[in-house]
């Protein structure tokens, strides 16, 4: 059943408690626009391609920054393309990684064709089956409030499928130059020297 929550409100709620120790990886398309609408940050890495890779990029970051809280925010289409990565995440089991899927049950950037979650597929059940210990499907404001607390305060890995409605919204773009976004992120996290080729962090 399609969701009733508004995606921009969901992302704003997820990001409201963020601190400088919160690192965000946003999946391509609407998720990246949502995260950008909540405020551009040098501690956001917004994808404008690389479909299917958002969660596993989050895993790579979480493994190398165990004292930071890594939050992946992406869509159902991106997550469906990278479902194997849930098994990899679960087996590595980083305590500092949360994956939140904004699930509107359709491919929003390409004409609104239904995804598998509009049919019989249950992403939270897949995450649980992959071995992720804390999973949920979120449909209400109350459930959203619970997982916002969980994402920022409880150990991961955790996975939340958040059922949202389909909306036609503006598209506030993050920087589209990936080299710039990458350098900006690394400088914020690792210092100025991280922009120089060959830097060993």
């Amino acid at each position: 059943m399609a969701g009733q929550l508004h995606r921009r409100d969901v992302v704003a709620a997820l990001l409201a408690p963020r601190t400088p120790d919160t690192l965000v990886i946003a999946g391509l398309g609407s998720s990246a626009w949502d995260v950008t609408a909540s405020g551009d940050s040098d501690r956001n890495f917004c994808l404008v391609g690389g479909m299917g890779l958002t969660a596993i990029i989050g895993l790579g970051l979480a493994r190398t920054q165990p004292n930071k809280n890594v939050l992946v925010i992406t869509g159902d289409g991106d997550m469906l393309m990278g479902m194997g990565s849930l098994a990899t995440v679960a087996n590595v089991a980083p305590r500092n990684l949360s994956i939140c899927v904004l699930d509107n049950e359709l491919f929003g950037e390409t004409g609104g064709q239904p995804t598998h979650t509009a049919g019989v597929t249950d992403l939270a059940a897949i995450a649980k089956g992959a071995g992720i210990p804390l999973t949920s499907t979120v449909r209400t404001e109350g459930e959203l409030k619970t997982i916002v607390g969980s994402v920022h305060n409880e150990a991961g890995p955790q996975f939340h499928a958040i059922k949202i409605m389909h909306e036609e919204l503006d598209s506030p773009k993050p920087p589209l130059d990936g080299g710039y976004t990458k350098d900006r992120f690394r400088i914020a996290l690792l210092g100025e020297a991280a922009a120089v080729g060959g830097f060993r962090g």
Binding site: I25, F45, L47, V48, G49, G50, M51, G52, L53, T54, I56, I57, G58, L59, G60, L61, A62, R63, T64, Q65, G82, G84, S85, A87, T88, N91, V92, G178, G179, T181, K182, F185, R186, L189, L190, A194, G197, G198, F199, R200, G201
Partner: protein, 170 residues
């Protein structure tokens, strides 16, 4: 003449290059190297479900300040193609070491298409491809590819010839 222990030499190069993240879809040709990496406490080794995950994982690791290497078989190269846009578009380093099938004396005809196509597919996506045909060349080839990757934010691949690894018969 003693046989060159090239997997151990690759391991030494990875250590010397400061590589701390190793990920793989395993291949018999990489078995000894994976075992060496697993035994190293300050190396994080991740088993992947598909090779494209490795491209994403190492991009995330680079964002976090660590160097990595992706180990895979030539049949896995095809799985990485669209993922290779990520390090290309973001000017991130990528070092992958590919054990080749589908070439020298291959006994499994199903390996030929991906084996023959692997170097072309990598080059089509902008990856600089290096090849080691002899055991004596392996270490310096991996070192050269690693230096280019991490000093130039470039994507590089080292192909380990099937002649080096030994043909597998079916």
């Amino acid at each position: 003449m003693t046989k060159t222990d090239w997997p151990a030499q690759i391991f030494d190069v990875l250590r010397a290059q400061g590589i701390t993240q190793v990920c793989h879809v395993p291949d018999a040709g990489h078995d000894r190297l994976i075992t060496l990496c697993n035994a190293q406490n300050d190396m994080a080794v991740t088993t992947l479900t598909t090779e494209e995950e490795g491209v994403g994982l190492l991009a995330g690791a680079w964002l976090g300040g660590e160097r990595g290497a992706l180990l895979m078989q030539s049949s896995g190269v095809g799985n990485t193609i669209n993922a290779l846009a990520l390090p290309a578009a973001c000017q991130m380093p990528l070092l992958t070491i590919v054990s080749m099938r589908g070439e020298w004396g291959e006994g499994n005809p199903w390996q030929y298409p991906a084996g023959q196509g692997a170097p072309k597919a990598l080059e089509a996506m902008g990856v600089a491809v290096f090849r080691a045909n002899n055991a004596e060349d392996v270490a310096e080839t991996v070192e050269a590819a690693s230096k280019i990757a991490f000093s130039s934010n470039k994507q590089t691949a080292v192909l380990l010839s099937q002649r080096l690894i030994g043909a597998k018969s079916f």
